[in-house]
Amino acid sequence: MIELRNITLKYGEREILKNVSLTIKDNTIKAILGPSGVGKSTILKLMLGLIKPNSGQVFVDGTDITSLREPELYPIRRKMGMVFQGNALFDSMSISENLGFFLRENLKLPEAEVQERVAEQIKFSGLEGYEDQLPENLSGGMRKRVAIGRALIFKPHMILFDEPTAGLDPVSSKRILHLISTLQQSSNLGAVIVTHIIDDVFSIADHAAVLYQGEIIFDDETEKLHQSEHPFIRSILSDKILEL
C-alpha cells in the first residue's frame, strides 16, 4: 500500500502540491487525473522517493520513505515498477538487454533465470522477433510494451504508469490499456495510472483521484465521478480530454 499524507511540494516560489493526501491499496487500479503540468507525474516521483516533499510523508508498505537516504530507498523502489511517459528505455541497448538490465544489475540472478524472465516478458508483451532490435527501431506502442515489461520483470507489488497512452494511436492505446487490465486480473498487481484522458480512467481504473490546482478535489470510486458537482469535474466529463 502507498500512502501520501499531507504532502506539500514547492518548486521555487510555486506551490505544486498543496496538502495532498492519497491512498493506493494493493490489488487495485487507481487513476490520478488532471490537466497537464498540474503535478501528476510529480506524485509518482514522490511515491518512488525520486523527489522529496517540502512537508508531509510518503508511506510504502508502512515505511516512511521521506526520511530514507538514497541507498535505503533502492529495495523499496524495487517493490514498485515504473513506466515513464517517454518510456526511458536505454537507447544503446537492445530490447532484451533493456528487459534484463535491472535483473543483472540489482538481483544478480543466474543468467539462465534472467534469460527465462526476459523471454517470458517478450512473450507477454507480444514482442517475439524484436529481441535484438534497438528501441529506436520500434513503434511507440511497442516501446511502451517494452517499458511495461521492464517494470514487470522484478515481479513488483505495484506498478506506476505515467501517461501510458499519451502519444499512441487508438489501437496501441487500447492494447496498452488491455495489457494493464490483464495484469491486474492475472497477477493481482496494484497500479497507479497518471493520465489526462478520462476515457482511460473509466476503462480500467477502480478508483480515481482528480488533481486540480495542486489539490485533490475528488478521491473515490471511479463511477462516483459522475455524481461530483465540482465544476472542473463536470467540465472534464463533458470534454473527455483535458489540457491541449
Binding site: 538514497e70 515504473m82 536505454f90 544489475e105 540489482n106
Partner: protein, 264 residues
Amino acid sequence: MPLTVIRSLEKNLSLQAKDFLLTMQEFFQFSLRAFFTLPKLKRYWRDFLDQATICGTDSIPIVLVSAISIGSLLAIEVGNLLEDFGAKTMLGRSTSISVIRELGPLLMGLMLSARFGSRNGAELGAMKISEQIDALRAFGTDPVAKLVMPRLAAALVMFIPLTALSDFAGLQSAAYLAEHYHHLDPGIFWNAVYPRLGPKDFVVGFAKAPVFAIIITLVSSYNGFIAKGGTAGVGRATIKGIVVSSGLVLIANFYVSKIVLENM
C-alpha cells in the same frame, strides 16, 4: 527610485549567491558520491573498459595532433629566439621543460576537456532529459556508481599514459624541427634534454594528469546530470561542462606547477 533599484539589485545578487552556493554544495556531494563508489569498480568493469577506450585509446589522435603542433611551434619560435643569443644548443633544454612540465599536460587536458568532457555532458544530459537517469534510480540502481564512477576511474587511469604520449610526441616533433628547421644536430638537442631533466620536471607534469581527470570528468558529468529544458538544455549543459572544466584545467595547471615547484 534609485533605492528600489539598489534593493532589487541586492535581492538578485543575493539569489544568485544562494544559487551558486547550492550548486557548489550539490557538486561537492556528487563528487564525493563518485569517489565513494570507486570500490564498486569490479561490478562495473565493462563500463570502465568502455570508458577507458573512449577517453584513452580513442583520444590518441587528438592528443598526438595537439602535442606535435605545439612541439613543432615551440622548436621553431624558441629556436629563433635562442639563435639571437647564440644559445641554440639550449633548444632541447627549453622545449623539453616547456613540454613536459606545462604544455604537454595542459594541451592534453584542454583537448580531453573538449572531447571527453563534451561526450560526458551530452550523453548524460540526453539520458537525464529522456528520464533514463530517473529510470536507473527508480529501479534501484545508483546512477552515479553506474555512469560517473567508471568514467572517473577510466580518466584517472588513462590520463597518465596520455600525458606520457603527449610529452613524447611533443619532444619528438621538437627534435625533428630542431634538426630540419634549425639544422641542429640531434645529438646536441637530446644532450640538452636528458641530463638536465630531473624528477621534479616529471612530477610537475604527471601530477596534473589525475587532477585534470577529476576536474574534467566530474564537472562535465555533473552538468549532464542537472541538464533540463529539452535538447537545448543538453546543449547548454555540454557547453557549460566544457567551458567550466577548461577554465578549471587552466587554473589547476598553474597551481599544481606552483605547489610542486615550491615544495620539491
